[in-house]
């Protein structure tokens, strides 16, 4: 058994909250720059230039890339040979509390969806645990803004809807979202599982670097095909027209029931944030 103290978890979560909000990952920055170079529409070029200048300012001055510093989605892979001294759950929430306070990040969480009183410290975090082999703990903090979250959808398709039904649904979600989620977007798609599993896979797909392809060639090709179809819609950066509507489509798939074909589409904006650390 390896012992890890809860305080260490808090320190890392605090740091990851600040880093993720102020610094985009290199794969995403390279992707935005490549899309700018390939964008033929002048208005869209201008918007992409602003987006690039914005993340450069955020990098240089360590300020949030976007004012919606999100709900803190925290993914924890806990090695089964690890013993946490103290409460892991409390340690994560405390890390979010400290990170959002010390990092001058916006507190965007309300304590109840109906009475809507702000909790004042951006807690609670949305925590997803995964028990894995080994004696390490991997923590990923992915702040999720709600301009794009609100444009996400899930649909329980019929098996007879098949692949074409999946493609049509993804395109419908992007079309309906239009300019609202701050395009260019990153599209996370979860296919299969149950109602909730599909949504979880869609969210998890957003953590995968945008310079990777699905390990299964079938889904890798589907990612490419959907990206091409989305970028033929013409919505463009900010919805002002252009080629660059999406930066990447990432798919996750898993087994499902003989009667079902769940599909979830989780949309993220060009500020697709996540930072990880392994203890």
């Amino acid at each position: 058994m390896r012992n890890i103290h809860a305080e260490e978890i808090t320190k890392i979560v605090r740091k990851l909250c600040i880093e993720a909000n102020c610094h985009l990952t290199e794969d995403l920055k390279s992707c935005i720059a490549a899309c700018r170079a390939a964008e033929p529409f002048p208005v869209a070029q201008g918007i992409l230039d602003q987006i690039i200048e914005n993340y450069q300012i955020a990098d240089q001055q360590s300020v949030p890339v976007c004012q919606d510093t999100g709900m803190a989605c925290v993914f924890v892979d806990v090695g089964q040979e690890v013993h946490i001294e103290g409460s892991l759950e409390n340690a994560i929430h405390e890390g979010v509390r400290q990170g959002y306070q010390d990092g001058y990040l916006r507190k965007s969480v309300v304590r109840d969806p109906i009475d809507r009183v702000n909790t004042g410290d951006n807690t609670p975090a949305m925590i997803y645990y995964n028990i894995v082999p080994g004696d390490q703990v991997k923590i990923t903090v992915a702040p999720k803004g709600f301009g794009s979250e609100n444009m996400s959808q899930i649909k329980m398709l019929k098996p007879s809807d098949g692949l074409e039904g999946v493609k049509a649904f993804v395109l419908k979600v992007v079309e309906e979202a239009g300019p609202n989620p701050c395009p260019p977007i990153v599209v996370g798609v979860g296919i299969g599982g149950t109602f909730d599993k599909a949504a979880f896979m869609a969210k998890k797909a957003l953590l995968r670097p945008v310079d990777t392809r699905h390990e299964n060639p079938f889904y890798a090709d589907l990612e490419d095909e959907l990206l091409e179809k989305i970028n033929a819609l013409g919505i463009g950066p900010q919805g002002f027209g252009g080629k660059t509507t999406a930066l990447k489509v990432n798919i996750e798939a898993c087994p499902t029931h003989i009667a079902g074909l769940p599909v979830a589409v989780n949309i993220n904006c060009h500020v697709t944030r996540h930072q990880s650390e392994v203890i």
């Binding site: 529409f41 602003q50 949030p64 916006r106 004042g120 301009g147 300019p179 900010q238 027209g241 080629k243």
Partner: protein, 186 residues
């Protein structure tokens, strides 16, 4: 061509703007988003005085991050505007001439804009670090308890926006996309 405009914004200038115009705004604007709009409209319903002068005002849909030491304001980009659709017509009727946000607007908002001569601007979403450079001062004028959602008076200088929907109902989301798709066919 970029148009320089000042805030407060008169109806005359608001009516002269067209969808697709790039503008730089200098002057005084106010922030309000979901929770503040709800409170403002409750005051309007009761016939009570609002915490700022709505006549000729531009309201920016934003909830900024806290300012770091030495900053006038934290990151401050637009939030999605359709959530204010239930409230905007009441403010437009009271003389509000401009809104800054991002994303689609509903028919009732556009009808009110056409009837009263108001304009809907877009600022680039997800560019809060960049946009904050054009905000020179910020002070809370109401609803401090709402934190990021409090109403703030902002002094802005050359704040960059694009007219998305003008007072005739022209809509850049429709025309811009069509222009791009047409350019692909050429």
């Amino acid at each position: 061509m970029t148009k320089k405009i000042t805030a407060p914004l008169t109806h005359e200038v608001a009516r002269s703007l067209r969808a697709g115009d790039s503008c730089l705004i200098t002057g005084t604007i106010y922030t309000a988003r979901d929770a503040a709009h709800k409170r403002l409209c409750e005051l309007i319903e009761k016939g009570e005085k609002l915490p700022f002068d709505v006549e000729n005002s531009i309201v920016y849909f934003v909830g900024p991050t806290p300012a770091k030491p030495g900053q006038a304001i934290g990151s401050a980009g637009p939030t999605t505007s359709y959530r204010m659709d239930a409230y905007s017509p009441s403010l437009i009727k009271m003389g509000q001439t401009g809104m800054i946000g991002k994303g689609k607007r509903g028919k009732e908002v556009i009808d009110a804009m056409k009837e009263h001569g108001a304009v809907y601007f877009g600022a680039t979403g997800g560019c809060g670090a960049l946009l904050s450079k054009c905000i020179k001062s910020a002070e809370i004028v109401a609803y401090e308890d709402l934190g990021a959602e409090a109403v703030r008076r902002l002094t802005v200088e050359d704040f960059p926006v694009v007219v998305i929907i003008d007072s005739l109902g022209n809509n850049l989301y429709e025309t811009g996309r069509q222009a791009y798709l047409s350019s692909c066919e050429e």
